[in-house]
C-alpha cells in the first residue's frame, strides 16, 4: 500500500473511532450538540478524503449519511435510538467500503445489499424523505448532490495563499476539486498578478490565489472546512455573493496590483456587476459610515494538534540521545583527568539537558488510555445485545497515560476479558432480578497508576467463577492432582492455564479460538501480569499490571559477580546491608526476618550459577511486585540509572529472569532483571 493510502486508512480509522465514541456517548447520555457536530465532521472528512482517491462508493454512502446528519444538526429531524443504531451500522459499512476500495476487492453481495438498504433507511429518515423516495438506489455522486434541499445559495470565496502555503503539504488544486463535491463552481478566477518574474521569484513561496463563485446547498462551515488543514496558510473570505458589505470590503482591500474589481468585472462576477449597478444608482447618496470589516471568524484560537509519527523515529531519537549521553560521559571523564572544572561543569549541564530531552521524547509515546478504551463501549453494547443482557459499562481513569504501544497491544486481551465478563459473568436480567440484583449488570474498566506500574481492573457483579467446574477440569486435564491444597484464589487463577476453557461449549461471543492462556501470554509479553479474584454470586475482578512504557525505565544499578544488573527502581522498596545480625537470623539461607516479615531471599550469584565474587559485603535489595515481596542478594549497589531497555535478542531468549540489556555511560552493558519472572520462579521452588 502506498503511503498516501496508508495515511488515508489511518485517518478513516480515527474518524470512525470519533464517530463511534460520539454515538455511544449519545446513546448513554442523550443527544448533545457537540457529539452531533463531531459525528458530522467525521463523516464529512471521510467523504472528502475518499473523494481525493475517487472512492466513489464511499463518497456516495458517506454523503447520504452526512445529509441526514446535517438535518439532525440543524434540528430538522430528531435523533432517535434507531437512528443511532443505524449510524453505528453505517460506521461498520463505511469501514467495509473503505477496505474494499483500498484493497481493490469487490464487496460481498450481502454487504452491497446491506449498503443499499442502509442508504434507503438513511434517506427515509430525512425530513424531505417523501419527495425522493424513488431515487433510493446507490447513485452516483452527482445525482446525490442534486437531491437538493432549501439552503441553496451563491457564495463568494476569496482565497490568497500565504507565502508559507506550500509547506502545509496541501495541494490547492486538489482542494478546488473538493468544491465540486459540495456544489457547483460557477466562476473561478486564478489570481496570478502577484507572481514576480523569474529572476525575483522565490519558488518555494506561494503567490497565487483564487476568486470563486460557488453555488451550493452546503452551509458556511462546510465550505470553510475544505480549508480546515490550511486555515493558517491562507487568507480566506467566504460570504454570500449578495452580501454587499463583505464584497465592498473585499474589493476595497485589494491592492493596485491586483485591482480585483477590474478583474472580477472582466470575468463577469455577477455580484460585482450587481454592486456596480447599485452604486451607480446611489452615487449621490453620501457614503455610509465605513463598514466595520467583518473578517471571517477564525477556527477558534490556535488549538494544539496532534501529529502522526512513525514510532521507529522516536526509537531512533532515543537511541541517538543515549549515544550522546555516553559520549558526554566520556567528556566528563576526560575533564576529570585534566582537572578541568569548567569543562566538567559544562558536561554536567549538558547531561542534565540530555536527560530532559530524553524524558520529553519518551513522553511522546504516552497516550491517554481513554482514547483507545472508549471503543470497548461499542463492543460491550454489541455483545450485550447479542446475548440479551443489560449492561451498565463504565470506564474509570481514562486519563491515565500509558505507552501507546502497550495500549495497542493490551487492547485484544482486554476485549476478550470484557466479552468473557458479559457472556459468562453477568446473569440474564430476569435471573438477576430473581436474585435481588438490579437487572443491569455492572461491568467496570478501571485504570490507575500504582508503584510505577499501571493497573487495569475489569470487574463485574455477576455470578463469579465456577470454582468446582474449574477444579474438575483442571484435575481432568492433569494440571493439578486431586489432593491439592490450593487456595480459592489459586484455583481461580487456574483459568489462565493452557487448555482450560470453562465454557462448556464455545460460544460465539467469547469463543473465537482464544483462551485465557493466550490472554495471559499476551500480557506477559508486555512485561505485565494478570490475576483474578472472584466471589460466588458477587462477581469477579481481573487485575492486570503493566509497565508504564516498554522502552525506558528508571533503574537501580547493582553488581553480582562480574555482571552488572539493573533493577527497575519502582519495584524497589528498600536496600539493606546483610550484616551479621541478619545472617544469624537467616532461616536456612532462604528468608530473613525484616521487621517481623519473613522476606524470601534470592541469591543472584547462586541463582545464576556465578562462581566467584570478590565482594564480601552483601546487600539485599527488597523488591515488590503486586502483593509479593522478595530480597535480592547482590554484591554491590551503585545507585539510580535511567535505563533504555534494549532487547538481548534471540540467543538469550531462554534466560529466565533477564528481560533485556542497557548500555551504561561507560559503554558497558548491564542486564535488566525481570523481577516478576524472578519472583514467580522463587514461588515455584
Amino acid at each position: 500500500m502506498n503511503a498516501d493510502l496508508e495515511l488515508f486508512c489511518d485517518d478513516v480509522d480515527e474518524q470512525l473511532t470519533f464517530m463511534e465514541n460520539a454515538l455511544i456517548s449519545m446513546q448513554e447520555n442523550g443527544e448533545d450538540e457537540e457529539s452531533i457536530g463531531a459525528l458530522f465532521r467525521s463523516m464529512h472528512t471521510i467523504k472528502g478524503t475518499a473523494g481525493m482517491f475517487e472512492f466513489n462508493a464511499v463518497v456516495s454512502f458517506a454523503h447520504t449519511a452526512e445529509n441526514l446528519l446535517s438535518e439532525v444538526r440543524d434540528g430538522k429531524v430528531a435523533l432517535t435510538e434507531d437512528m443511532i443504531d443505524t449510524f453505528l451500522e453505517v460506521k461498520d459499512y463505511v469501514q467495509k467500503l473503505v477496505d474494499s476500495a483500498v484493497n481493490e476487492t469487490p464487496l460481498a453481495d450481502a454487504d452491497t445489499q446491506k449498503v443499499a438498504e442502509l442508504m434507503k433507511i438513511l434517506k427515509s429518515m430525512l425530513s424531505t424523505a417523501s419527495t425522493d423516495e424513488s431515487s433510493a438506489e446507490v447513485d452516483s455522486v452527482e445525482e446525490l448532490s442534486d437531491d437538493a434541499d432549501s439552503g441553496e445559495a451563491l457564495w463568494h470565496i476569496s482565497i490568497r495563499l500565504k507565502p508559507s502555503f506550500f509547506t502545509s503539504g496541501m495541494d490547492i488544486i486538489n482542494m478546488l476539486s473538493f468544491f465540486t463535491l459540495l456544489g457547483e463552481l460557477k466562476k473561478v478566477v486564478f489570481i496570478d498578478r502577484h507572481i514576480p518574474n523569474i529572476e525575483e521569484i522565490n519558488p518555494t513561496q506561494a503567490y497565487v490565489g483564487y476568486e470563486i463563485l460557488f453555488f451550493t446547498d452546503s452551509p458556511y462551515v462546510e465550505i470553510e472546512e475544505i480549508f480546515e488543514f490550511v486555515i493558517d496558510d491562507v487568507e480566506l473570505h467566504i460570504f454570500k455573493a449578495n452580501d454587499e458589505d463583505m464584497l465592498k470590503a473585499l474589493l476595497e482591500n485589494s491592492d493596485a496590483v491586483e485591482d480585483l474589481e477590474e478583474l472580477l468585472t472582466k470575468n463577469a462576477f455577477e455580484n460585482v456587476l450587481a454592486l456596480q449597478e447599485v452604486s451607480k444608482q446611489v452615487e449621490e447618496v453620501p457614503k455610509k459610515e465605513a463598514t466595520i470589516q467583518k473578517t471571517i471568524p477564525k477556527k477558534q484560537e490556535k488549538k494544539s494538534f496532534s501529529l502522526r509519527v512513525d514510532s521507529s523515529k522516536i526509537d531512533q531519537l532515543i537511541n541517538q540521545i543515549s549515544e550522546m549521553v555516553i559520549a558526554n560521559a566520556k567528556v566528563s571523564q576526560r575533564a576529570a583527568v585534566f582537572k578541568d572544572n569548567e569543562l566538567n561543569e559544562a558536561a554536567t549541564i549538558l547531561s542534565d539537558m540530555l536527560e530532559e530531552v530524553r524524558t520529553g521524547v519518551m513522553n511522546i509515546r504516552m497516550v491517554q488510555v481513554g482514547d483507545s478504551f472508549n471503543k470497548f463501549k461499542r463492543i460491550v453494547h454489541d455483545v450485550a445485545k447479542k446475548v440479551n443482557k443489560e449492561i451498565d459499562f463504565e470506564i474509570i481513569g481514562g486519563e491515565t497515560e500509558l505507552d501507546k504501544m502497550v495500549v495497542e497491544k493490551i487492547s485484544d486481551p482486554l476485549m476478550h476479558m470484557l466479552r468473557n465478563s458479559i457472556d459468562h459473568g453477568i446473569e440474564m436480567p430476569d435471573e438477576r432480578e430473581a436474585l435481588g440484583k438490579s437487572r443491569e449488570g455492572r461491568v467496570t474498566l478501571k485504570t490507575y497508576p500504582d508503584a510505577g506500574t499501571i493497573v487495569i481492573e475489569i470487574s463485574d457483579d455477576g455470578k463469579g467463577l465456577p470454582k468446582e467446574k474449574i477444579l474438575e477440569k483442571a484435575i481432568a486435564n492433569g494440571i493439578i492432582n486431586e489432593n491439592h491444597n490450593l487456595s480459592d484464589k489459586d484455583i481461580y487463577n487456574l483459568i489462565f492455564a493452557a487448555g482450560l476453557s470453562t465454557a462448556e461449549e464455545v460460544s460465539d461471543i467469547s469463543g473465537r479460538g482464544v483462551g485465557m492462556d493466550v490472554v495471559k501470554r499476551n500480557i506477559e509479553s508486555l512485561r505485565g501480569m494478570v490475576e483474578i479474584d472472584s466471589r460466588p454470586g458477587e462477581g469477579s475482578l481481573f487485575t492486570i499490571r503493566l509497565p508504564l512504557t516498554l522502552a525506558i525505565i528508571d533503574g537501580f544499578l547493582v553488581q553480582s559477580g562480574n555482571t552488572k544488573y539493573i533493577i527497575p527502581l519502582e519495584m524497589i522498596q528498600e536496600c539493606l546491608e546483610l550484616d551479621d545480625h541478619y545472617k544469624e537470623e537467616m532461616a536456612g539461607d532462604e528468608f530473613i526476618n525484616l521487621r517481623d516479615y519473613m522476606l524470601p531471599l534470592l541469591d543472584i550469584r547462586s541463582n545464576f550459577n556465578e562462581i566467584d565474587s570478590k565482594s564480601k559485603r552483601e546487600n539485599v535489595v527488597v523488591v515488590r511486585y503486586g502483593e509479593y515481596k522478595m530480597g535480592l542478594m547482590v554484591d554491590e549497589l551503585f545507585g539510580e540509572f535511567q535505563t533504555v531497555i534494549k532487547p538481548l535478542g534471540k540467543v538469550f531468549e531462554n534466560v529466565a529472569g533477564i528481560s533485556g540489556g542497557t548500555i551504561l555511560g561507560s559503554g558497558e552493558i548491564a542486564l535488566i532483571f525481570d523481577i516478576p519472572k524472578l519472583i514467580e520462579e522463587k514461588i515455584k521452588n
Partner: protein
C-alpha cells in the same frame, strides 16, 4: 544506468569470491567476506548467566547489544586468551525465521581479506578434521595448503546457542 549493469553481469560471471581470513588457535580459517559486517577490537563483554560457556555474553557495538561467541571454545577447545590482536568479527547471521541477527565471534587475529577462485574449492571431508565437520562449508586451496571455510549457519545456529 547501463554501465553499472554491464559491470554487475561481469562480476557474477567471475568465478571467485572474497573471503575474510583469520587465525583461531594458530589455525587459519576463512568466512565469506559478505557475511562479515565489521571487525572491531576486542572490547569488554558482559557475561549473561546460564548460557553455554562459549557464549561469552554481550557487547556494545555502536549502541547495539550484540551477542559474542568464543570461536575457539565453540570448536570444543579452551577459552580464547585475550591478547593485543584479539578481535571480534560481527557476522550477519540469517536465522531459521529468515531474520538477520548480528553475532560477534572472537578470533585471535585477522589475517587478511583475499580472493579465492571457485575452482580451488573442495567439499569438506566427512571426518578427519580437527573441528566438527558440520562447521566446515568447504575446503579451499590457499597458498601451499588447505584452509577451512567456516559454515556460520551451523556454528551460530541460534537454536543451539540459546539452548540452556
Amino acid at each position: 544506468m547501463p554501465i553499472s549493469e554491464n559491470g554487475l553481469k561481469k562480476d557474477t560471471k567471475n568465478k571467485q569470491e572474497q573471503y575474510l581470513l583469520f587465525l583461531v588457535g594458530d589455525v587459519l580459517y576463512a568466512i565469506e567476506a559478505l557475511k562479515a559486517r565489521e571487525i572491531v577490537e576486542y572490547t569488554s563483554i558482559t557475561k549473561v548467566p546460564m548460557m553455554h560457556p562459549y557464549v561469552k555474553g554481550v557487547t556494545n557495538i555502536r549502541g547495539s547489544i550484540v551477542p559474542v561467541v568464543d570461536l575457539y571454545e565453540r570448536f570444543g577447545f579452551s577459552e580464547t586468551i585475550v591478547g593485543d590482536k584479539t578481535s571480534i568479527v560481527v557476522v550477519n547471521h540469517i536465522d531459521a525465521d529468515d531474520e538477520a541477527v548480528q553475532i560477534g565471534i572472537i578470533i585471535d587475529e585477522i589475517y587478511e581479506v583475499d580472493v579465492i577462485e571457485n575452482e580451488h574449492l573442495k567439499e569438506a571431508p566427512k571426518f578427519g578434521s580437527k573441528i566438527n565437520p558440520d562447521f566446515i562449508l568447504k575446503m579451499a586451496k590457499y597458498k601451499d595448503g588447505y584452509i577451512s571455510i567456516l559454515n556460520t549457519d551451523t556454528i551460530l545456529d541460534i537454536e543451539e546457542l540459546s539452548n540452556l
